[in-house]
Subunit: 254 residues, 6 copies
């Protein structure tokens, strides 16, 4: 019989891993052997999660698990850089722990980095379960296949979509409602690059849409809000929507 | 004393029904009498849900329950068609079960089709509880009163709003941030058609707003992103936002 | 060791407080001493929530708790006015209890009013935990520091962002995807007014962005959808986006 | 496949029924429709409990359920008489509610009366699940088949065993460690009376054993502690163990 | 309306207090502020427990709570002595922590010492809820009113009954099935001493019954198993049951 | 820091193992990979259980786990024989599944056989946690160190005590309140045989006590109720308590 991994187990794994990686902000006090016990459990839970699909692993279920846990320290370092980037960009944040504890943008990046790690090991289905959990909790939808550099920053974030073959450099910042999407969605495009490339130090303001696998936003560019882009932009560019706003004395409802 | 149905019971009913309708993707193994037991429980839970409002049923509480469960097989068939439409439109999906398990667009349609069934039996309040549960989990807000045809497809979906008197044909696809709304919200409009009509085979891209009860999007039309429409569009139309984007060498922050 | 309050305790406090303030819509039947017990528990839970950060209170942990509970009756009155405003503006709502039970806009305002109360007592971190819980459940992100008048109305709401130093008058209505944000996000702006002022009786339609601490939307104005505003608008104004929509016979996909 | 009813469901049914029958001592406040809801649920739970064994009912699963709930008011009256008997016999009890809430003897009788009701309807297996739940919580093992009169009183109770074909009159009191058992346990005795008859107003003190289907303890008798009885005793008898106790100045350990 | 305290809250309080007093054996790791938080919660839970009966307190509900928590350190010291006594008397025990973690005799004493503390403050009903919880888990039934000295030791314990006005000295050891009970149970005896006095260093073996308020077991006595005692025994006595056991070649079943 | 294994984890392991070994009576339906998943989890849970005491294993923590799971099939076979023995001896039992599902005697033997397996691998402390869980649920206290043959049968069982160095043959049956104990409890006896030997086919009736490491009950013997034995009995013996019972016309209360 065809089997799927359990959504519930997947969600729990993500929650447990968060507490393991960030004990200070989770009210978890690390005693004598608590970390060791947590690690033992996380590995057991990943085995359970993979059990129904273990025949679909290219590199084998155990090696995928091993490889995932080997990469954890590196993932943790990247996440601390992301948290730093968000902290630096928000006047309201007083401690970096606040960012880790409470910012949905950080949470979405956290889940993406786990999911991307599994995606790289060609683990089937589970990376998508991960990303949909983050989507459900934050409204931020980052495909596990996207390549995202360091110091990635998301502000507010609701409505963000980042497609599977998107490439994002370092020090990029996205606001709520930004879409990095595809122009075409036919099945024969599945293995091609369909989503844009965002180079280092780019800021994209809220409500903006960038589409297409050949679209490149050059480094250091600033893309204003509500912009609709399907062509590349050179580096150091400033792009904004020249919408004409009409203001008049109110007479009728629009 | 005035009574309201329990939000918690409502949410649980939706979760339980999902496991009942889609056991393969729910890690539920169907044994000897599991389906029978599940059905028994679902009916019991619906009775509990309706208990505090049973005096407000036009057709009686029992007949509404009966009628809902009679319609389930048909609802299931429609949902499989919706899953197929989403699967066909997403290059990244490898099995239709992935769509059912993990896609928020499918989940929102699932809840809408249950809620619409109750709405048709004039069950008070509960259909809205259903749709708000989907809204909370997916950011997709489909009013139970909307009429939606077969092979309905939602991609990403966060921020979608579909109003109460919307009519949607077959093979329609909506992207994130699409609003199908009303121009006027005065209370005396409550029984009139206030939301648009979308005919068969229409695609509406992200961030677009279509308003008004007399607005009709003709069959086979494509509506681009970020479009604001308050008037009808003939069939086979392509509509897009002619926004002028200004690109210049960066000097100042916007 | 640096300590953070528990996100889980924070979420539970908000849920419990909802049941306490709105027993009718929560399926809670108030008997002999139920309300008294609930209050006892809520105070205990707030003490637990504050425990790890009690050294960071300006006015002391106990006085903050006391002051919060003293203000509850007033908060309750304000929330009933908000519910009334939402009820009056939605043709589909049949009872005000429906609004309280099921409308995400009301839920977001409920959490905001609690969080704002704590913010006024300079309680650290917790107000942000509150607002992120509402954000996660509704997609509506209202900073606890915002000042919002009476009869505040949110419709649908997904994607709304209201910044820390925003001022909103009475009888204001916001639709989904509205951003009331800042032009600049440098850390040295943390104590300055960075977000706009919205005067009484203003309506802002979906997808509109208003930015800047000096931007004032005059009383009684109507701001259309998809508008991008960084300058003030006089009172009684009607503002709309003059986007040119192109409609043609379909030949190619966009 | 052979199926057994769920032990967990059985235990839960007993707990829920207790709260339904004795709301005052259960911290349950009965509001507008709480009792009705509780009854609806109890019936649903009984249906679930019977589902795996429904083919083994002589009178049909639905009629057994119906008959059980029809008898509930009568069972309740009997239980109040039992509680009264325990209250009257314990100098330490200050309210009859204490007896219902906290006395294991009452709890065992409560479960016995439910189980006996099912036993009378020839419900298979479930009556034994009921009695073993009481046994596990109280150490008192009353077979559902026993016939027990009114005003039955158990004091302390741990270690009491009452066999399947025991007959007990009214106003009988048993202390801890009393066994009313069988002399023979061969399978061909299964349909015969194997356990004793205890007539009205008998008291049996702790540790006493009475065995055999033909053994009758006459009305108004008092049976002392640690007695081993396999023959009948006339009415108004006083029976005690004439054990010789030796007391001497301690020199060696026994 | 007449109210009773919640059995469930009572049980939880006992469990939570155990973890608080014996963190090492409970898998609880005490971090920065864990003990403080636990204490805060325990006090809150006791307040909730007392709420429905607060009008029945002689010394007032708050003073009873205060007095209970003031006595905790002393209770803890006594319990460590009890654990030591059990450890010393059991060849199988390897660490004193094993006794605290796993021995039902210790658990019953633990609950008794809490209940006795409440009994001394004349808290109504709750002490009996406490003792019945221990009874249910261990089969050991110690009335909260009993006075028990230091280094109290229970071995195995199932079936032990210790009545309300029992007095027990230091270094006493009881085996399973021992009853320290009353001869008379008429209501007008409620305020008199009805149960025996056991002086220091007494051992009572399994199955023995000692009855009556004037019965005194003198210091250093050893009472054998299955003894039935209703009269006093001088100090340094050895008492045993002179039962004649008949052994013969088996012919018939008894 | 000194660490103890978690009582809660220990209890859960026993419950989970029961469902794994006896799925039919547990309402567990075994599908495609359910058994495999259950086994994976059980091993994970045993590892967690052993973690805090892993330095105290003679043969190493992993080898103990391995050895335990290797022995499971054999344990299962023995348990089916025990169930058969109980079924054969109880006229009231209609299916062997009833015995497994509901009989406390079987449950106690089940836990004993698991605990004994761990005891044989010299796992510290955990075997005692196991046996105390059974003790708490059934009132039957079998030390994990006892050696018990096949077709072991316990009827009712409350109050049974079986000491650490007891040897029990095949086809032995014990009734409630039987103690197989030690005469001496001094610490220097810890490694010696202190408890009796019961040979094949012995029946011991309720309330009987057999004490001492040199006491042997010969094969095929029947020991009556309330007997106190500290010396050996030859094979084929019938032993009973010659207590004189006095019966007289009631005049005074005892």
């Amino acid at each position: 019989m065809f089997q799927m991994p359990s959504k519930q187990k997947s969600d729990e794994f993500i929650d447990d891993m968060f507490r393991f990686l960030f004990p200070v902000v989770s009210g978890v006090e690390q005693g004598h052997y608590a970390a060791e016990l947590a690690l033992l459990r996380l590995k057991g839970k990943m085995q359970e999660l993979f059990l129904p699909i273990r025949d679909q692993f290219d590199i084998g279920c155990s090696r995928a698990t091993e490889s995932f846990f080997d990469a954890l320290p590196e993932v943790h370092i990247k996440l601390m850089k992301d948290a730093q980037a968000i902290f630096d960009g928000d006047p309201a944040a007083k401690h970096i722990e606040e960012v880790i504890l409470a910012y949905p943008g950080f949470y979405a990046i956290y889940v993406y980095r786990l999911a991307h790690q599994l995606y790289n090991c060609e683990v089937p289905i589970v990376p998508r379960l991960f990303s949909e959990y983050a989507h459900s909790k934050t409204g931020i939808d980052i495909h596990p296949g996207a390549n995202i550099g360091e110091y990635f920053c998301i502000d507010h974030g609701t409505g963000i979509v980042v497609g599977e073959t998107t490439d994002i450099g370092d020090h990029v910042k996205l606001y709520q409602g930004v879409t990095l999407g595809a122009l075409s969605v036919s099945k024969d495009m599945a293995t091609k690059k369909r989503h844009p490339t965002i180079e280092d130090n780019v800021i994209i303001y809220s409500g903006t849409t960038v589409l297409g696998g050949e679209t490149v936003i050059g480094a250091n560019s600033i893309i204003g809000g509500n912009v609709w882009l399907t062509e590349s932009v050179h580096k150091d560019a400033t792009v904004y929507n020249q919408s004409t706003v009409s203001v008049r004395k109110k007479k009728t409802a629009i």
